[in-house]
Amino acid sequence: MPANRFNGYTDYEVGIGLRVPHYDHILSKKPIVDWFEIISENYMVDGGRPLKILDQILDQYRVVQHGVSMYFGSAQPLNRDHLKRIKELTKRTKTPWLSDHLCWGSVDGRYTHDLLPLPYTFEAVRTTAERIRMVQDFLEIPLAVENVSSYAAYNDSEMTEWEFLNEVVHAADCGILLDVNNIYVSSQNHDFDPMDYVNSIPAERVAQIHIAGHSKFEKYILDTHDHPVLDPVWKLYGRAIERSGPTATLLEWDDNIPSFDEVHAEALKAHRFLRAAETAMSVGAGLREEAHV
């Protein structure tokens, strides 16, 4: 760890999301950034500026693709045209792994464009895992599924969210994009201890981690990505890194986007935890070596 088969055996550190308001800054100032995460759908177009910018970024930076419309959990067959277009883009970006959400969002050819939560049932495990396997086979790239934040729970659920995530990733044999902000948001909306969630994750499957800010409303918390990361989320992040080892980490900031430097500085706060995890790992490795001798 952190290089594993779910992130293409890479050792990426802290990245940030590539967003339109930062294009000029990035291309003119060429800041040092370990990697950028792109939302695939923003570049699945036929031509023009988005692809030109992407090519300029690819000349200088490493890029990982993150999607918002795969809907692994939708009950009906996958959209072949969509998959073909994603595959085309993966050839352009050479993304070492690809992530999308553990959710559903379309039915009968109609799209909600939302990341809707799944009922935590064995039927949903089977359906979702089968679709993830099909996508993975088609794209020939390691996949990581991201836990979403949710505001509703279903009467039909037969297990906890983390049990569901475990079942799906084992059945699909895929990686996890662990979003610790989403865990926190959901823990507040569904009254569970977010540490129980983090502690139950199969650490060896974590390909990447998301951190982000959220908004608190009177009766619930929304995943708005418009704030710095809050302390309880950093705490979960620290624990996740402690379990998985230093893992590719990405700060999501999608609304009220401040300057590039501000976003980058916020993301780089993750280094504190990554270095601590590295130290812990090397101490651990040293101890093991001694024991071996």
Partner: protein, 305 residues
């Protein structure tokens, strides 16, 4: 409820139009209380009822979709005012729900919908339709497909019998109002936006531009992309007709004779305009070889009639 049944149930609930105050409706179309429907598959918690939890998704669906369409139509939004614009978008999306994984094409049928529904625009209906058509043309020109245009040699070999293909991102518009400057002015103030994965919490009001009165006046316009920026180019009527003819598959001679059939220009001026039209179109990369055909047309000579 199996997975597919649950998804069909929830999709119907999430897509149900909101009240005028952007809240979830209390009753479904068949008269059933939505609170009962919500409770049939969503569990409450100590702070939120099943209805309130479903409402978060119902509102989020509409906020996200209205925002996505309004980002493509900022001038139309300003022209109609937010209330009328939102009513238009709600009615439009109710009739044309998204059938694609991308939000990019969500507003593609809005100009046609608006043309068929004058009640959403009142007195300025034709003006609103022109604005909508121009804003859609911008979207298409911005990231539409780009083909390799004719080379200089190929362009020089264009002859009377040549058939050409127009650059896919080029849009040709015949407008009743000269709305190009208006739309450009509003567009300049608009930030470009991304698709993101965060929650949509409210209806963003990003546009408070006031639209000045616009006088009627025919305008022929080309909307195209050059060096990754979108441009509007005013065209002579004859040039517009010529390009339209080519786009519909006519030969150069047929398109030219159609374009100049009612022209009031002198024969010399017609010849000059025809020549200039081809020169500009090929300089701007608008002329492409017909897909699947040999681009070289050495047996033909350019004839100006």
């Amino acid at each position: 409820m199996n997975l597919l049944e649950l998804q069909r149930r929830m999709a119907e609930d999430v897509r149900r139009p909101l009240t005028e105050d952007y809240e979830m409706r209390s009753f479904a179309d068949d008269g059933r209380p939505v609170a009962d429907i919500a409770a049939s598959y969503i569990s409450p918690n100590s702070r939120l009822s099943s209805f309130e939890r479903l409402e978060i998704y119902n509102r989020q669906y509409w906020f996200r979709l209205i925002t996505a369409v309004s980002e493509d139509y900022p001038t139309l939004n300003a022209l109609l005012g937010q209330k009328r614009f939102d009513a238009l978008i709600l009615a439009y999306l109710d009739e044309h729900p998204s059938t694609s994984w991308t939000l990019r094409d969500l507003g593609a049928k809005l100009p046609a919908f608006l043309a068929a529904h004058p009640e959403f625009a009142g007195r300025r209906h034709r003006l609103a339709v022109d604005v909508a058509n121009l804003e859609l043309a911008y979207v298409d020109a911005f990231d539409g497909k780009q083909l390799d245009p004719l080379t200089t040699e190929e362009a020089q070999a264009i002859g009377a019998d040549s058939r050409l293909f127009l650059q896919p991102h080029l849009r040709l518009l015949e407008l009743a109002y000269p709305v190009d400057n208006l739309v450009l002015a509003v567009k300049k103030e608009m930030p470009e936006v991304d698709i993101v994965s965060s929650a949509a919490t409210h209806r963003d009001v990003t546009n408070r531009a006031k639209i000045p009165p616009v006088k009627r006046g025919k305008l022929f316009l080309a909307v195209h992309r050059y060096d990754d920026s979108v441009y509007y180019r005013r065209l002579e009527k004859e040039t517009f007709l010529l390009l339209e003819g080519l786009r519909l598959g006519a030969s150069v001679a047929a398109a030219a004779s159609q374009a100049f059939a009612k022209s009031k220009l002198t024969p010399d001026a017609q010849a000059l305009l025809l020549q200039q039209s081809f020169a500009h179109a090929s300089q701007l990369g608008w002329l492409c070889p017909l897909p699947g055909t040999d681009v070289a047309l050495p047996h033909l000579e350019m004839k100006v009639n």
